[in-house]
């Protein structure tokens, strides 16, 4: 175990706390958009997928990367758009 791992764990634990603090403040009426929106955020793995799909040599890593890019893009694009579609409907009197 080296210093980097420790920092990564720090970041993870602190981010969890930030998440708990923020999300407890989201009202129940917005729980569905919260799920779809946070879901889109979890599509951040697209960052890793892009690097795999962009390798110069054509290998199994590239193929896995391509499928990952497709999955993650569906997750990101679909997630943000459907969340926006829902939130647009929430109107006060």
């Amino acid at each position: 175990m080296d210093g980097t791992l420790l920092i990564l764990i720090y970041v993870f634990v602190l981010a969890m706390f930030v998440g708990f603090e923020l999300i407890t403040k989201v009202p129940p009426t917005l729980h569905t958009p919260l799920m779809s929106g946070s879901n889109a955020i979890s599509g951040i793995t697209i960052v890793g997928a892009l690097i795999s799909a962009g390798l110069e040599e054509y290998t199994i890593s590239t193929i896995l990367g391509l499928v990952a890019v497709i999955f993650a893009t569906i997750n990101v694009v679909g997630g943000f758009l459907v969340t926006d579609r829902m939130l647009k409907m929430f109107k006060k009197k």
């Binding site: 993870f12 998440g19 879901n39 890793g48 962009g54 390798l55 997750n75």
Partner: protein, 464 residues
């Protein structure tokens, strides 16, 4: 790694955090979602400058396909299909994380990275990322199938179920240990993939339809944790931050859903109420008279009422009755009545399901009340109108210690002067128990499909 890219990832993470913060109010939520999308765009664009990316054709093809499929899904899905949609998106997120981890394995194996050989850190994080990602992927597909009606929505039980799941999980751990000792052996990593995919199926299959809010929330959490695990594989801070945020969100929602049913997470995950599903007949038999009412009489009753609370349930979603309910709301408001909606936390098939449907029908969101904010008002209510809800308004949860739902928080509709229950029949709810509410002296049953019945009522109200 490039400092420019690193700083941009940090900025992107701040956008995510700020975006979720703005979700705290319906007024700012749309902007919040937009901020999160900007954060994602920043992350994607700067990644394209990464020195490891040398060719762009696969990337362009992948993004194109994903964008088309994603937008089609987002624009085509009806609001009643939102639980399926979210279930499917969870799956894609988990699947992507798993594929990235697997791709990283082959990169190191084929010496396509700066790394010379596998460290224990690599094998452990790759195994973990693959486990969580795969379970999320197939688990979400099963959840999607259940919500879509392709896979049975019943509680599925078979002998040896739990020992089998435990055995599979332990075998993943054991293989991961072998894998750490022999990282060159790709059969080991592929067996982890296979077993994890199977585990996802077996874990979600037993969960019954009405427990889907819990399953979807839990899978939402997993999809975040899978992303965070991939962040550990890639040493990427942003993946860890974003994954942890989503993981936390899913955990909170799961917890709220479990509390709404007064059940432990274990109880839900292991498959349903004792009496639920296949065990068949109702456990308690309530005796008494059922009074039913017709639209015309009901319209007069509503016309004389002052305070009205509408309680929607999954039945409203199934009948697509949200627009009819909105018409009812409008006509009652125009008659000067105080009309509000009471939403139970587990009404529907996912957290906030009812709210989205009513928002779609343009019911103002400030008329939708959470259980704890409205439950004390039922005694001052003239009519509580229950549309397609059952177990969440069963008074047995308060007093009948033998009832399987005893202790579950319920909406106290029975305290209203008159309770009107719209249902297709007297059938039992998800918990498989009869609802004594239907036999109460202040209860009127208004039988029929929710959409037709409410439309008929609106028609009669107009004719008054």
């Amino acid at each position: 790694m490039n400092i420019f890219i690193e700083i941009s990832y940090l900025i992107s993470s701040v956008f995510f955090i700020f975006g979720i913060k703005l979700l705290a109010s319906p007024k700012t939520a749309r902007r919040g979602n937009f901020f999160a999308a900007i954060g994602m765009l920043i992350a994607i664009v700067v990644t394209l400058f990464d020195k490891h990316i040398l060719t762009y054709e696969w990337i362009i093809i992948g993004i194109l396909i994903g964008s088309i499929v994603g937008s089609l899904m987002a624009f085509k899905v009806p609001m009643t299909g939102m639980p399926q949609m979210v279930g499917l998106l969870n799956g894609f997120g988990g699947g992507a994380s798993m594929l990235v981890a697997l791709s990283e394995y082959y990169k190191i194996l084929n010496k396509l990275t700066d790394k010379i050989e596998f460290t224990t850190y690599d094998t452990v994080t790759i195994s973990l990322s693959i486990l969580i990602g795969s379970v999320t992927f197939t688990g979400s597909l099963i959840a999607f199938g259940k919500l879509q009606g392709i896979v049975t929505g019943k509680v599925v039980k078979y002998p040896g179920q739990h020992p089998l799941n435990l055995l599979l999980l332990l075998s993943v751990v054991a293989i991961a240990i072998f894998f750490t000792m022999n990282p060159q052996d790709e059969v080991l990593i592929l067996s982890i993939v296979g077993i994890s995919l199977l585990l996802g199926v077996l874990l979600v299959l037993p969960i019954g339809g009405a427990d889907m809010p819990v399953a979807i929330s839990l899978l939402n959490s997993y999809s975040g944790l899978a992303g965070a695990a991939t962040g550990f594989v890639l040493n990427n801070y942003e993946l860890i931050i974003a994954g942890a945020l989503v993981g936390a969100s899913g955990i909170i929602l799961t917890n709220i859903m479990c509390k709404g049913m007064n059940r432990s997470l274990m109880n839900v995950v292991l498959g349903g109420w004792e009496s639920a599903g296949s065990s068949g007949p109702a456990v308690t038999t309530v005796k008494g008279n059922v009074k039913s009412v017709e639209a015309e009489e009901l319209a007069m009753l509503f016309d004389a009422a002052e305070n009205i609370i509408i309680v929607p349930g999954y039945g409203m979603a199934v009948a697509q009755a949200q627009h009819a309910v909105r018409d009812l709301f409008n006509i009652l408001e125009s008659k000067g009545k105080n009309v509000r909606f009471a939403i139970h936390p587990v009404a529907g098939r996912m957290p906030g399901h009812m709210n989205v449907l009513l928002a779609e029908a343009q019911v103002p969101y400030d008329k939708l009340y959470a259980m704890e904010d409205i439950n004390d008002d039922f005694p001052n209510t003239d009519i509580a109108f229950v549309i397609g809800a059952n177990d969440v308004v069963n008074p047995a949860a308060r007093h009948d210690k033998n009832s399987p739902i005893y202790g579950m928080p319920i909406l106290n509709v029975d305290f209203a002067k008159t309770v009107v229950v719209n249902k297709r029949s007297l059938n039992v709810g998800y918990a498989g128990i009869e609802n004594e509410l239907f036999f109460y002296p202040n209860t009127l049953m208004y039988f029929g499909d929710a959409k037709e019945a409410v439309n008929k009522l609106v028609h009669e109200l107009k004719n008054l």
